[in-house]
Amino acid sequence: MSFDPRRPSNPLVTLLLAVLVLAAAAGTWLGLRSGQPRPEEIGSLLEPVKPIVTLASAAEEKTWLEPHFRPEEGYIPAPPGPPPCPWGIDGVDRERAAGVARASGLGVAGIPELEELHKKNGGWLSGLALGRLLVEQGQRAKAESLYATLLKPGLSRPLHDIIGRGLVAAEALRDGNPREPPPIEDLTPAIYALQASGYVQILGNKTGEDFWNTLKYPIALGKMVVFHEQRMLVDKVIDGYELDLAPPGCVAGWPGISSYDLYNNLIVGYLTASGFQAPPEKRTKEFERAYQDPPLQNPLLTVLRKRQTELETNPEIEGRVWAVSNAERLLRDRLLERRGYPQNARLALAVAGVIEWALEGSVPEAAVPALLRQQRELLAVALEREDDIPEEERPGFDRALARLRLIAAGRNGEEAKLDDLAASFSPEQSEAASLVATVQAARREPAGWASLALGEMDPGLSLKLGKRASPWRSALRSDLAAALARFAAEQEPPARQRLAGMASSILHVGDTVPPALANLKTELGTVWRLRLWLHTPVGAGAAAAAVFLLGVLLARWLAVQLRVRRELFTSFYRTEAEQRLRGAR
């Protein structure tokens, strides 16, 4: 054959079919993705439900503070209490009492004299006075050694025996076998020694059974003091009990340490402990509860139950979980007894820090409002009582408090009034805090928030945020979807479904689906979940791809039919002849 004939074809048909298929796919995508709510519409919907909780945005903003602020600054152990009052202690040698009183009054200058005095008989009177000054001077290791010696078994005023007797008495009283505990004047120096020892061990990052006993025993002994003073059954003494304990030998009302300091040190000890792993039986005993409170009433219990389950896979969080457990007991007892929050700046800040740690992980949705409220109120207590913090500790305390207030304000949609707290900021910290405050102000109103999440961002703000803008806007969209989902959950079915669709359509690919929206979708059922999914970018993309594939198959089929039809009414004889005439090759 001199030439190769070609079957007649109609490229226009192929082109038209291709265009139709692409148009169908594009139309599917646009149709499913259109109808995205306008920011003004969302803003007006959410305006009545202000202030709105925004967890994701606050978490994102928190990361901007992290390089400049250290959360550990908020874990402040209570230092050793004031020195004893030697003249008020029965049975002490006058000369010795005078020497201790005089040296204690000299401040750190009195250390050599106190060391001499302590060397002579090694009792707790000189020991407590010396230890406190050593801590003040920064000689932590020496103080730790001193306290360890004081708490060892010995002949002169053995604190070790007192502690033992006190604990036995507490146990016996709990079991219903009354046994007189040691007197208050014996318990007090034991409590002071234990508290001081615990303090220096926290600073030294100690671990081990003895360390935890040092932190727990003074709390138990304090309950014995309450028993003495109020003749209350020990097991009726609530966790978080209130006790102001004057130094040994001092009259009641003399400034000393409080039970809050003891609880604070225990919780701070757990928060700062690394590698803490309790034996299983102790863990079970610690986390066991005779009650099951609902999340709104006792959110920390919900957190405890959740985090308990994570211990196997994340053993490094055990210390924090024990901190949650102790904070939960303390708050529950106090709030149930209508005693209010512990009026202690360090303890309030520490428990607020515990809640902050809880909020960093996944918290059951039901517990979030109560957790946020408790944290907000504890921070208010810490601010109110900040004057109780010694001057030398104030900068760290202020920074920690400012940080938590800023983050909490971001979550709660409020303005964080930092005032004097910001005076302790470094320039970098000021800049970071200022940026966070700026974006919080920008997104505080729902309309502004929706506009930032869905619309165009102010160029100035965009420049300030730089690379942080994209993940922050993603967090804004997640929070917006969560807020709409929560709002939708309170509406009747037709509106609920529409709002669920609106919430779903806000999210871009890669945005976190908030639990509130996930729960709402589960409630709505499979069909609605599918419909909502189709409106998401992934769903719309999948639908468009399916339409494209179907379109291609249909177009191929149609092209075949049209070709068959065309060739039915065509003469190949003529076609070949024409091609030959045209010189087709």
Partner: protein, 424 residues
């Protein structure tokens, strides 16, 4: 007696009375097919030269014969009373199995798709296949003076073809004589039974396409009918072949033992009640179209002559300008209806494998026209795809008729439209 190379038969004289081609001297005696009575004899052509060496004899294969009925070789069929003039086909002493059947079976076993070319003797079946011969592959066609020699009766020529996409295809070319002999015509006195269609049954197993060749000149020129009655009966023969293939594909059951209904009547009755049709594409080609230009279409075939005003003018055929479907619809209504009854997908077209000079019959232009595209249409994978079912031809025709009515072109369905000019 001389030999006409065009008509492939022995004739008297130096010029063939049928096609006016110069005859050749008969070089040697050729075996003659004997009939019982009344049937014309025909030469079978030169010595058989098979396409490829036959495979090693396989005793089981040679012994095996498709037996759909319960009849066994040990128990010969009960004798049927022969009607006058009815006899057996070909040589009474030759085996019933065709030469090449074993080869065909082997191809089928290897998964080849079968495409059958059917038509009476001399319409150009082998020439068509030769014209489609693909470059780089064995041709296997014996030629004389540039034209393919006739296929030996009772021989199946198997021509594998290359699809290029993993499909395996095979064109099967049988002698036109064999197709003619399948037609149960009382006038010729030839009857068939199930055994006679064994090769068709084999082909039907993997049939994927069918080419039916019709030579219009032989069909319409009554002067040629006397030499070979099959010329006039091309349509009936092809319709019957189609009917057989339809029956074999969709049914194929016949109990020959003590069955008062003759085989052919059984097939006829069965196909009349069938609702399904052959799905394989059927390409009907009017062969030797180069010789049809200006051929007068017989009166009464142009459709609705009585509607024309004045005298009916002679309409000449112009293959290059005709619409083949409309041409068949108006001028070969019997053929159109037969194809429409038995097949779902079909088309009509003209073709020539080579151009010969009318008088001497020598080759003027060896290049075919209308062959390549027609065969490509047949080989299109869309016919065998289960994912793209094709709308049947009758539906397309019905749709087109409705559409033509709407747009004012309905007239072309009442009478044959005039041919179009060909443009370069």
């Amino acid at each position: 007696m001389s030999y006409c190379p065009t008509c492939k038969k022995e004739v008297e004289g130096d010029i063939c009375p049928t096609c006016s081609t110069p005859t050749e001297a008969v070089k040697e005696k050729r075996p003659v097919i004997r009939r019982l009575s009344g049937t014309p004899t025909e030469s079978t052509g030169a010595e058989p030269v098979p396409f490829s060496p036959p495979p090693e004899p396989q005793p089981e294969a040679r012994e095996r014969k498709p037996e759909p009925g319960p009849r066994t070789r040990e128990a010969p069929p009960p004798p049927r009373p022969l009607e006058p003039g009815v006899g057996r086909s070909a040589s009474a002493v030759s085996p019933r199995r065709f030469e090449g059947e074993a080869e065909l079976e082997a191809f089928i076993a290897q998964g080849y798709e079968i495409f059958l070319v059917a038509g009476i003797a001399g319409v150009g079946k082998s020439e068509l296949l030769s014209a489609f011969g693909q470059d780089g592959f064995l041709g296997g066609f014996q030629k004389r003076d540039g034209m393919v020699m006739a296929t030996i009766p009772r021989t199946l020529q198997c021509h594998p073809i290359h699809f290029g996409n993993g499909r395996k295809g095979l064109f099967v070319d049988a002698s036109g004589e064999d197709f003619r002999l399948l037609y149960p015509d009382a006038h010729t006195g030839i009857g068939i039974d199930e055994a006679d269609i064994s090769f068709l049954r084999l082909i039907a197993k993997r049939l994927r396409g069918l080419i039916l060749l019709v030579e219009l000149e032989r069909l319409w020129d009554e002067r040629l009918h006397a030499a070979d009655p099959s010329h006039a009966k091309q349509v009936q023969i092809l319709a019957w072949i189609l009917s057989l293939l339809r029956w074999l594909t969709l049914d194929g059951r016949y109990n020959q033992e003590n069955n008062p209904i003759k085989f052919t009547k059984h097939v006829d009755a069965a196909t009349r009640t069938m609702t399904k049709r052959l799905k394989v594409p059927v390409q009907v080609l009017f062969s030797k179209a180069d010789q049809l230009a200006g051929y007068p279409i017989p009166q009464g075939l142009q459709g609705a002559d009585w509607l024309r005003q004045g005298s009916v003018s002679e309409r000449k055929l112009f293959p290059l300008g005709e619409n083949p479907l409309l041409f068949t619809y108006h001028c070969l209504r019997g053929l159109y209806k037969a194809i429409d009854v038995h097949a779902d997908n079909f088309r009509f077209d003209f073709a020539h494998s080579l151009v010969t000079r009318k008088g001497p019959g020598t080759v003027a232009d060896p290049d075919p026209c209308g062959v390549a595209l027609a065969v490509q249409w047949l080989l299109d994978p869309c016919w065998s795809s289960s994912f793209t079912p094709v709308i049947s031809t009758r539906r397309w025709v019905a749709l087109q008729r409705s559409l033509d009515k709407v747009v004012g072109r309905g007239r072309r369905w009442t009478r044959l439209p005039d041919p179009k000019e060909i443009s370069a």
